[in-house]
C-alpha cells in the first residue's frame, strides 16, 4: 500500500526536484551572467594601480604608502624582468590599452546614466500627456489592463497604434487607443538625442491600468 503510494508520488517528487534544480540553475545562470557587467570595473581598478607601480616612480609609491610591504616585493621582482626591454614595453602597451579601455567604460557608464535620466524624464512626459487625454468609459474597472504598441518618428508624431493585449472591454481598449490618437504628437521628443530615441522611443509599449477608479 505504502510502496504503491510512494510509486505514485515519486514522479511528482522527481518533477518538483528537477524543476527546483533547473530553476536554481537558471537563477545561477542569470546571476553569473549579470555579474560580469558590473564586476570588470571593480577588478580592473586595482590592476590599474598595481601596473603603474611597476613602471612609474615614487609618486605612485607615496600614494600607496600605507601598504609598503607588497611594493618592495614587486619592485624586486620587476627589476630582473625589466632587463628585458621588450617585455617591459609589451607590458606597458597592455597597461595603456587597459587604461584606455577603462576610461571608455567610464564614459559609457556616464552616458548610460545620462540616457537613463533622459529616458525616464521623457517617459514621464509621455505618461502625463496620455493621462490628460485618456477619457475612460464608465464601464472601466480597476484591474482592467490593455496594452498598446505605438510607433513614433523623431518629430514625436505617432505613426501607428496597435492593440497588443485587450482588456476584454472594447470600449476600454478604444479609449486607450483614442488617448494616444488625441495626443497625436509628443512634440517635446524633438529635443531628444536621436540615439536615445532610436534606443527606446521609436517603439513603445503602453500599459493602461487604471488605479484611481472607485470600482
Amino acid at each position: 500500500m505504502i510502496t504503491k503510494l510512494f510509486r505514485r508520488i515519486n514522479p511528482l517528487i522527481t518533477a518538483i526536484f528537477l524543476s527546483f534544480i533547473l530553476h536554481t540553475m537558471l537563477i545561477v545562470f542569470l546571476v553569473i551572467k549579470w555579474d560580469p557587467e558590473s564586476k570588470p570595473q571593480k577588478i580592473s581598478a586595482p590592476k590599474y594601480i598595481q601596473a603603474k607601480l611597476i613602471n612609474q616612480q615614487d609618486k605612485r609609491l607615496k600614494k600607496l604608502g600605507t601598504k609598503p610591504k607588497p611594493k618592495p616585493k614587486r619592485i624586486v621582482k620587476a627589476k630582473p624582468k625589466s632587463k628585458d626591454e621588450n617585455k617591459f614595453q609589451k607590458k606597458r602597451k597592455i597597461v595603456e590599452q587597459k587604461k584606455a579601455k577603462n576610461s571608455q567604460v567610464k564614459k559609457q557608464l556616464e552616458q548610460e546614466s545620462h540616457d537613463k535620466k533622459m529616458t525616464s524624464s521623457y517617459s514621464a512626459y509621455i505618461t502625463e500627456r496620455i493621462e490628460a487625454n485618456w477619457n475612460r468609459p464608465p464601464s472601466a474597472r480597476r484591474g482592467m489592463e490593455a496594452k498598446l504598441l505605438i510607433r513614433l518618428v523623431p518629430t514625436g508624431q505617432v505613426v501607428s497604434v496597435a492593440l497588443l493585449k485587450t482588456s476584454g472591454n472594447i470600449a476600454f481598449d478604444r479609449s486607450a487607443e483614442q488617448a494616444v490618437y488625441k495626443v497625436g504628437n509628443f512634440d517635446k521628443l524633438q529635443k531628444m538625442d536621436l540615439r536615445i530615441f532610436e534606443k527606446s522611443f521609436r517603439q513603445l509599449e503602453l500599459v493602461f491600468r487604471p488605479d484611481d477608479l472607485r470600482l
Binding site: P11, L26, T119, R136, P138, A171, R174, L204, P210, D212
Partner: protein, 428 residues
Amino acid sequence: MKKFNLFIMLFLFTLIFPLSAIAGLSIEITKGVDNPTKIAVAPIVFDGDQLSKDISIIIQDDLERSGLFEPIFRENMLSFPSSIKDVYFRDWLILGAEYLVVGNLLINNGVYQVTFSLLEVHSSRLVFTKIAKGSKNQLRDLAHHISDEVYQAVTGIAGAFSTRVAYVTSIKLDSKIKYKLMVADVDGARERLILESNHPIMSPSWSPDAKELVYVSFETGRPAVFRQKLANGRRKQLTNFKGLNGAPSWSPDGKKLALVLSKDGNPEVYTYDLKSEEFTRHTNHFAIDTEPNWTPDSKSLVFTSDRGGSPQIYRLKLKTSEIERLTFRGTYNARPRLAANGRTLVMVHRSAQQFHIATQDLVNGDLRILTNTSLDESPTVAPNSAMLLYATKINNRGVLAAVSLDAGVKFLLPSKQGDVREPAWSPK
C-alpha cells in the same frame, strides 16, 4: 519516456520564462480623466429634406440626457455629411468632437431604413456601420435604437433609450382626485394612458417581457392586485383578500409575483405562482414585512422589515427560507430594488431627517447617497444599471427625477400637470 517528457517540459519552461522578461520600454498609464464624450450627430436627412421627426435631434437628446455625452450642436457644425465618404475629419477635429454619427434614410415600400455609422474622429476610424428598419410611426424607435448602439459602443454599457417608464399621476379636479396609470418613453415622449380611476392606483411593476403591468388598484373598495396587457388593455384581478394586498413585483423569470398580504392579520411577504395561481407565504413575523423585490436570478427576495426595531432591508432565500439582514447603517432603509447586476442595492435611506435615494454595494458594503433632494421615494433602476428614476417633491408637487448610479448626472422630469409618483422602469 515519461521522465523524458517531463524534462522537455521543464526545459521549455525555463526557456520561456527568461524570454518573457525581455521587452522594450514600457510605460504605465494609471490615471485618466472622466469627462463626457464629445459627440456630433450629423443631421440624418431624406432626399435633402428634414423628416417630420428629426431623428438626429432625438439621438442627440438621448445621449446628452445620459450625462455621459456632450453633444456638438448643429449650428456649430461646419458640414453635414450623410455618409462616410462625405466626412472630412478635420471639420470635426476643429470642433473638438471625439465621435461622429452620420446616417441617411431610405424609404422602400413604406419601410424606413436608416444606415448609420459611428466614426472616431481623432484616429479617423470607422467604429461601425449598421442598418435599422421601421415603419413611418417608428421613427422615434429607430432614433432610440441608434442611440442605444452608439451608447453601447462608446461606453461599453448597454443602452436603455428604447425602454419605457410606467408611473401614476394624480390630478385634483374640484374636490375629486383623478388617478392615472401612464406609460411613456424614458425621454417622456409618447405618453400613453393605461388606466384611469377615481380611486388610488399604486405600485406598478413590469413583466420581464415589458408587455404587461401589475399594479394595485382601490377601485373595488379595497386594495387589489391587477394584471393588465398593454397591447389590448385586457386585465385580470389577481387578489381579493381582506386587508392589505400590495406591492406586487414580477419575477425576472416571469413565473411568479412577490407581494404583500395581510390576510392572516399582519403584513407578510408572499409569492403568487402565475400558472398555478397559488399563494405561498414566505415570512412569519409579528413585525411588518413589505416591499418585496427579486434578485436577478429569481431565487431570492429583498424586502423591508422592522423586525430589528427600525425599517431595514433583508434578503430571503426562497428555497431555504433563510433570512439575512443587508443594511446596518442608519435607522431607516426601505423600498429595496436590486440593479440587474445583482450587486447594487438601491433604497430609500434616511439621513439627517431627510429621505434620500442611496445605493449599497452588496460586495464591499459601500453606502452612497445619490440624491440631494428630500422626501425621495420609489427608486427604480434602468435595466442597464446606469441610472435610476425616483419620485420626489419639488415645491410641494410630486415630480420624477433621475440620477446616475455614480451620482454624476441628476435631472428632473417636470410633469405637465398634477403629481407624478411611483415610477417603474421597464426591463426592456
